[in-house]
Symmetry: C2
């Protein structure tokens, strides 16, 4: 278990990586902003899936996913076929044109990262990937327990309830 000062610094660093993300965003084609690129990347990596699954992987509300998906579908980069098993659902699939776009995206981001990280070792990059991936998991897999834990012996300082892990707009 780490201490308070470390958590504060971690929060700062998380805020700071935004600058790196913006740099990466600036090299994207005008027609394919970050949200659209994420859709293509995930469909390529994890295969065909439904909207709800994609929203979960992107960790955003499904309404947001719906907009990104509409964007890439309009450009012919993915197809939305009806799900025979559930007529409410649609199955998303990358098209060849989407694959081409993905190759281009990958080329650009790789070019930028290779330049900026030219003095990083494979191990360094791997460790960063590992830790960021674990960070994401630590935040994801924390559903509010079905049965609330017993109240603490000492009342905690007045604070709002922690954010839930909800990704879906409540009906």
């Amino acid at each position: 278990m780490a201490e308070q000062a470390q958590f504060e610094e971690l929060a700062r660093q998380l805020s700071a990586v935004g600058a790196v993300k913006r740099d990466l965003g600036r090299i994207l084609p005008h027609a394919c902003p970050a949200g659209a690129a994420a859709v293509l990347m995930l469909l390529s990596r994890d295969g065909d899936m439904r909207m709800s699954k994609l929203a979960e992987l992107m960790a955003v509300d499904m309404s947001v996913t719906s907009r990104h998906v509409a964007h890439v579908a309009e450009r012919g980069w993915i197809e939305r076929s009806p799900d025979p098993a559930d007529k409410r659902s649609r199955i998303l699939r990358l098209t060849p044109a989407g694959g081409d776009m993905l190759v281009e995206l990958s080329r650009r981001s790789t070019e930028l990262l290779a330049e900026r990280l030219s003095d990083w070792t494979t191990e360094d990059v791997g460790e960063l990937i590992r830790l960021m991936s674990r960070l994401r998991e630590s935040f994801d897999c924390r559903p509010v327990p079905a049965v609330p834990p017993p109240p603490l012996p000492v009342p905690l300082p007045l604070s709002p309830p922690l954010a839930t892990t909800t990704t879906r707009t409540p009906a």
Copy 2:
């Protein structure tokens, strides 16, 4: 030097940490969104400074900084005093009220991180901080060389110029 597949994965993870940042953002007081919190945090950590310095630390355009600073100044969390040495400039300083807000922010983010990262060791967190910090540095300190490097022997694949490191709107 790392390879292409690794860079692609790194780009994915960078996109994915957005979810963590959003979780942290959800616990902020309504009056103090992420941008405002960053201003307070940096003034506390690095002391009084001018707008331009703050913009550099936040790695955003000064126009963006100006808005965030105006927001926190309106709420009395910072003061903007004229710089005697340069009348165009303003020196930003955290007020006691700003310090109080910062304590509250820190308490909330620490509470959330302590819960989510309860199974992380101090070393793990430290290593993640170190690597993220280095990542930020690798992107920052890469001004386009004043004298363009000699052309490469083999022409690179057709690609747009890489993003510059500019943080300021060109006049």
